[in-house]
């Protein structure tokens, strides 16, 4: 990273911050940019800013500072890419593949398996909408039309499914 200077964060502090926040920041940036490569670029720029200006951040709010800088970097990159409109129109699963370590790949596979089990336990009407949206990539409006349901019902079921899944995942994590 960089040599220790009195005015800047120490190398150990930078490494600790990177270890603690980089995964979440990368996911956040991917969600904003919808492009894995641009997200990696924005993450790098964010930590360059941390090296250069990290001392200006209140150490109690490093996380908030990092996310704010990351969002600004992401917006800048998106504008400069001249693909802003295109990027904003795509769902995050079209953001390309991320380079993962074997360990990360294994963890991801386990997470997907775990999630698959949880999906199977959802009520069938929620599971159907989730699969139509996520697997078949049908918009909620089209799902409502195809299933002859009000759009509000479709959204409510999807939201309920999401709530169940997130709460169960958080329970397992904790």
């Amino acid at each position: 990273m960089t040599a220790e200077t009195p005015d800047r964060l120490t190398r150990a502090e930078l490494e600790a911050l990177y270890a603690e926040h980089s995964s979440e920041l990368r996911a956040f940036l991917r969600g904003v940019l919808r492009d894995a490569d641009l997200a990696a670029e924005a993450l790098q720029m964010t930590f360059v800013k941390l090296i250069e200006q990290g001392e200006t951040a209140n150490r109690m709010t490093f996380k908030g500072w990092l996310f704010k800088v990351a969002l600004n970097e992401a917006r800048g990159i998106r504008r400069r890419s001249r693909r802003e409109a295109e990027l904003l129109r795509r769902p995050v699963w079209q953001s390309g593949d991320e380079t993962l370590t074997p360990e990360e790949t294994l963890i991801q596979q386990e997470s997907v398996e775990q999630l698959r089990d949880l999906i199977q336990k959802l009520p069938v009407e929620q599971r159907t909408i989730l699969n139509l949206r996520l697997h078949d990539e049908i918009t909620f409006a089209d799902i409502a039309q195809q299933l002859n349901l009000p759009l509000g019902t479709v959204l409510t079921r999807m939201r309920a499914a999401l709530k169940t899944l997130t709460s169960q995942l958080r329970e397992r994590e904790s």
């Binding site: 956040f28 969002l71 995050v92 999906i119 699969n131 949206r133 996520l134 697997h135």
Partner: protein, 189 residues
């Protein structure tokens, strides 16, 4: 487009998750998306929700299965494609039925030709037919489409004249007399 919720200042974790999920899956209309990005600039919880929903959406994309949604997709198919399927099935059944009838007709024709090599036997057979009920005769008639058969075509099974005469029940008696006087000329395949 859907009807996304607007972000309330007191949005709970669940509401933030839902908004973030719609944001990363591109289900928010443009104005709502821009408003949500403004919230991201000052709300760490909203940023965390985007990160969490990004991970979840990517994993859900892999975990979602087509098997579950197949029946629904089938149900959602347009009526025109269903109609097309029925036409295909119907055509196949008709073609098979026609083939079956043709093969049955060939068998019947072959058997009859062999059995009618002698005019006496043919006459006996005709006499038997004349005595049978009309339904049976009509059923036999259906085995041949006399209007479409090309009698000059060597590949087409030849129908003996006595058989054609035999199926005409109205003139069965008269035909029988004629046939007895003039032995039927049999054509072997």
């Amino acid at each position: 487009m859907n009807q996304p919720q607007t972000l309330q200042p007191e949005s709970t974790g669940s509401e933030l998750d839902w908004l973030a999920f719609q944001y990363v899956t591109e289900q928010l209309p443009e104005n709502q998306r821009d408003a949500f990005e403004e919230v991201l600039a000052g709300d760490l919880a909203a940023c965390e929700a985007v990160a969490a929903m990004t991970v979840l959406a990517l994993q859900l994309k892999q975990a979602a299965t087509p098997e579950v949604s197949r029946p629904v997709r089938q149900a959602a198919r347009s009526s025109s494609s269903r109609f097309g399927s029925w036409i295909a099935v119907g055509s196949t059944v008709v073609a098979l039925g026609w083939l079956f009838m043709l093969m049955n007709g060939q068998d019947s024709n072959t058997q009859t030709s062999v059995g009618a090599t002698q005019s006496e036997e043919a006459a006996g057979l005709i006499a038997g037919w004349a005595g049978s009920n009309q339904d049976e005769v009509l059923a036999e008639e259906n085995l041949f489409d006399l209007e479409t058969l090309d009698l000059n075509d060597e590949s087409t099974p030849k129908i003996p004249g006595w058989m054609i005469a035999a199926v005409s029940l109205e003139n069965a008696e008269e035909k029988m007399g004629d046939l007895m006087d003039e032995p039927v000329e049999m054509k072997e395949n």
